[in-house]
Assembly symmetry: C2
Homo-oligomer: 261 residues x 2
């Protein structure tokens, strides 16, 4: 059976979300699908690789032009070169961001991360923003080593005392590490630890610093945005493969471009 | 000569800024100053230390309650304990954020950082958001080592190729590492490198990744928010000491609470 881009895209979401960034950014939705690629970040290299491999629909999570609202005009020279590459190839690019976070139950990005960490059986509650898990008591140091091993990370950032005990953990993917989203996990859900992608440094980390200096041993592991969300898109690739068994589907991984020295 | 808190605060800013966060958060402005402390981040520990040392005016850069707009109601338990510590001691806390960035010429936080890095003589232009400097050509790797040495940092994050040459650099303190503030430094000011505090990971770092993959060798050093701004408050302490020679003034440093493992 042959599928058009429109048909596949319509299967990925069911309820239209208002003002969503989940739209077909490039390409003709009437085209027949030849090959689908899934990625977290639609970098210049990822797009080039997809084109080279005969992909005509790329499904990405983040925006193409270095900003969340990627329907704005592309003004940078770097963005223009990227735009030309896409246009000249005819590749279609569809963004799946809002629906996978808010329509999928549980959040599809969160689900992928939890599978990758082997923590699906430890879930206590999927809340709207965070998922609360309960694991056997371990030192923060050991939780960090476990997470680094499972996600294949060389370094992570953390806040708190490495010797503190962690058992109740709130997981927050992407940019949910800010105070408004992460602090309630401590105050309301009474977790020991939050594990998040990224967030402003003066909010959650400083709350944790003060809590520790008041005698309340809590902590955070700051994974990085890509590190917290890429496994969710890898998980999506498996779903799509299952849903459309006649279409070739592949996942294109992206290395983190932020390094440590 | 004796000074009141009001008199000192009035000397720190001249033109009132609309909707500013630069207000007296705690304390009675009619009290006579005994001792002033300056800090970047008014943590629980910093406030305790200031009280212990007989300080009755603490001047800070960031908010007391883990959010930029710190005039909002304090809802967290950690915040309430902090509030009680402040109230019971009677210490006055004044925030100097907007004026030091926007009224001081050049930006007082930027000036402190440039002095600390010994780059004041290399300034080409102080722009509204960024300062452009021009240094003798060096590899990114060497610039990172220099910055780490001068700011006494064990690790920094960076984007780009360590062997690239850097000469023209845009400095952006605090949360100015986002795409709207940092990308124009490359596109308009034609810098090789941006050095910033923090910013969303999917913006400037991904722009730099794509630029490199298009053959344009540019990079970023991500210092951390505190690391990029604390020297500006240290510099302010020296100004205040000079302006009020009869008042005891001290700077209280804050260690970064975000660690690496």
């Amino acid at each position: 059976m042959e599928w058009t881009i429109r048909q596949v895209v319509n299967e990925l979401t069911s309820n239209p979300i208002e003002n969503t960034v989940d739209t077909l950014k490039f390409g003709d939705e009437n085209n027949k699908i030849k090959k689908i690629a899934i990625c977290f970040m639609p970098t210049y290299e990822v797009i080039k690789q997809a084109i080279k491999q005969g992909v005509n629909l790329l499904i990405c999570h983040e925006g193409v032009f270095f900003q969340h609202d990627d329907d704005q005009v592309v003004e940078s020279e770097v963005g223009q070169k990227k735009w030309k590459l896409i246009q000249s190839s005819g590749i279609a690019i569809y963004r799946l961001h809002d629906a996978i976070h808010h329509e999928y139950q549980p959040d599809g990005i969160m689900e992928g991360l939890l599978h990758h960490l082997d923590w699906m059986d430890d879930v206590e509650e999927h809340k709207e923003i965070a998922t609360i898990i309960q694991i056997p008591k371990r030192k923060l140091s050991d939780v960090i080593d476990y997470v680094k091993h499972k996600l294949n990370l060389s370094t992570v950032r953390y806040v708190g005392d490495l010797s503190m005990n962690c058992s109740r953990i709130a997981m927050l993917v992407g940019y949910r590490g800010g105070g408004l989203t992460a602090i309630p996990a401590f105050e309301v859900d009474q977790v020991d630890l939050v594990i998040y992608g990224e967030g402003p440094e003066w909010e959650t980390p400083e709350y944790i610093r003060d809590a520790n200096n008041q005698g309340n041993r809590i902590g955070a592991i700051i994974l990085g945005h890509l590190e917290s969300e890429e496994s969710g898109m890898r998980y999506l690739a498996k779903r799509i493969e299952k849903r459309f068994p006649t279409i070739p589907v592949e996942f294109i991984a992206t290395e983190q471009c932020i390094k440590w020295k």
